[in-house]
Symmetry: C2
Subunit: 404 residues, 2 copies
């Protein structure tokens, strides 16, 4: 017998890695009667199942054992070329396949960047609030977090300027339809950030899983990609084709960085599922991807509108919400002093779920905000869920007279 004493054995890094709050509450919210705005799932209607099945048959027939064999760490050359080509044509970036590293979802890109860049105490700038999966990935390497306030226009440039006085290795931002807030950075804000970073030895990581899902307004240029050669752009097929296949990608003009990230990837999982890479590539060759994205975008536009209208109808006026122009989330702010976390079990009793704000912050408790996801429910369900949540909010905070 050896019954381990794991407390003595586990590493410092895992002691500092919080389990994902969302993944724990997803278990709690498994009751099918609960209307959940807590997840971050794409609408299954957005998966091109028939086209993907046709692609499967085609790639097995055409490429045979190659889709089942070990493959190279960088990722399928054809897929990397297709991605480089798309970003060249659509976003004006001057890229080749060598600038692209295929990752096992964007989450792996966050893990690899952390591995390659972060030692304990290294400075990392994040939005306040930020994506919890990124905070979790960075936390593994015990950095010093420097959160910078996010508002309607983007990152607060004054605060950013201040934290840039400190030693910082990495700045992590989601400029389009941010998770969790749904906010986007203005063109002016992007320019201001770019200017602040232009002579710094800092890796800007621009995470863009939602950028293609814009249902209002025109595209804005990237902060780093195409402008700052040391920057990194993250993309994924999870929100536009299928998340279950875990195919994301990392783009950088800095080949030295790509080389280090490739070594880290090799040690992490050798390579991303090669069948999935052939599948996505074949799908992109044989389908009208732009039309498919347009149809998802229209779906999410309607769902976002349904949620926004229901919020206007059912929430007390002391509660405010962002109005996203794309993406999958909106952010609700409660009156000061009201903990969204404390409302969570009460909401579950009324069969509706959300993510309380806390896990999107570094060490903040009882935040007066929550994230709502609108991509994975139809409009009548969204209205009913917001109605239930509104009842609770009226009861708990309806007496507050004005917005925060």
């Amino acid at each position: 017998m050896n019954c381990l004493n794991t407390d003595q054995l586990i590493s410092e890094q895992i002691r500092h890695t919080p389990p994902s709050f969302i993944r724990s509450i997803l278990n709690t919210a498994a009751d099918p009667e609960i209307i959940s705005f807590a997840g971050g799932l794409p609408n299954p209607a957005s998966f091109p199942q028939e086209a993907l099945l046709a692609s499967m048959e085609r790639i097995v027939t055409t490429y045979g054992s190659r889709v089942f064999q070990y493959s190279i760490t960088a990722g399928l050359l054809q897929l990397r070329e297709t991605i480089a080509d798309r970003y060249r044509k659509k976003f004006g970036l001057n890229l080749g396949a060598d600038h692209v590293l295929i990752t096992t979802g964007s989450q792996q890109a966050l893990d690899l960047l952390s591995k390659v860049l972060l030692n304990p105490g290294d400075g990392v700038i994040v939005e306040k609030p930020s994506y919890l999966g990124a905070l979790q990935a960075f936390s593994q390497y015990r950095p010093a977090f420097h959160p910078v306030e996010l508002s309607e226009n983007g990152m607060n440039p004054e605060q950013l300027k201040n934290v840039l006085q400190k030693p910082v290795k990495l700045l992590y931002a989601i400029p389009n339809f941010q998770n969790p807030t749904g906010l986007s950075y203005s063109a002016q804000n992007r320019e201001a950030i770019r200017a602040l970073l232009s002579n710094k030895n800092i890796v800007l990581v621009e995470d863009d899983p939602y950028g293609e899902l814009r249902f209002e307004g025109g595209r804005l240029p990237y902060i780093g990609a195409g402008h700052l050669p040391g920057s990194v752009l993250l993309g994924t097929f999870s929100k536009t084709i299928t998340p279950g296949m875990r195919v994301g990608f990392l783009i950088s003009e800095n080949k030295d960085l790509i080389k280090h990230l490739s070594v880290a990837k090799e040690a992490s999982d050798l390579h991303t599922n090669i069948f999935a890479q052939y599948l996505i590539w074949d799908y992109l060759q044989h389908s009208d991807y732009e039309a498919h994205i347009a149809s998802i975008t229209e779906l999410y536009r309607q769902q976002a509108q349904a949620m926004t209208e229901a919020i206007d109808r059912y929430f007390p006026p002391s509660v405010s919400a962002t109005r996203p122009r794309g993406g999958m989330f909106l952010w609700v702010t409660l009156p000061k002093g009201i903990s969204a976390l404390s409302l969570f079990p009460l909401a579950l009793e009324r069969k509706v779920a959300f993510v309380p704000g806390d896990p999107f912050y570094i060490n903040e408790k009882d935040v007066n905000a929550m994230r709502l996801n609108y991509s994975n429910a139809d409009c009548p369900t969204i209205e009913e869920g917001i109605r239930r949540l509104g009842e609770l909010l009226w009861e708990k905070v309806g007496h507050s007279l004005c917005r925060k």
Copy 2:
């Protein structure tokens, strides 16, 4: 412009992570005229392509969007149950689905174990020589390596006893048809190791990718699994169904360890490709997996025999080789003082490739040994490759009169 100075930015851990020698030489050996014994690829003939295509159609039709959606970190419940069931029936282990964590190939299991257990300077016992992908994964966390000599019977028990006096967190072993040597631990050696570990607070990681590919002799019991509740067993479908799908698994009776590994996995890639998990599970339900394994084993038995016979015929008597009873590799020892690495470019000139011994050791240079893989070439090709290598060896070391 910000042109990064990556030297200032990269982490200590990535500085200490060697790129895989094999993956670099695989590029060198891309010339189709080269007979390569350097890789570790399963024979494509072992991929059940038609059955997998049928499974794809079935799971897309039956489970629809679920095979394309995000999923849970632990892995598909049905697949974990099937794995637990198989190890219960076939190997007498008392397991449930909760003891199984699905990983993105076994490589990810090595990465997760390192993340969860290792801080800089922590003691890790490895075989000498050991699997280079494991050395690479561990190296990321800068442990203190304690190599223990591996010979015909297994790990040297005296050396093991000695290093166990030092503070050690993890012992990594491949007891069946080891990579790179092809050697297996005897029943007696397994018992001796088990006894030495029985009252230690150390995680034994028993990596068993090749155990099912036995073509001679009877199965031997695991060292830890079923005996040491704190131990970890690694398995994979890469060698028996398809490596390209990246589906491996980690088994432990220690649920606390599984919990920490799950948090690390969540931060690493959220979950393993769920389509691939459904696919493997469906294949296992609808096919005769044992018969399939038997056919791969028979194929590799023939190929191993072809290599062994060709070595007897073409290599000088001063060169010795292991005689594997299963798995995919054998290990060739040259006379003392002869660097296999120095022979590598000469072998490439003669259109044959192998892996020189160096990367399988911690900080050893110009090792007088090489790894040969026999799973991915047919018998005539194996004979021709060994003939070419034999010519080179006669020329360089043929004058030595006796085996090392």
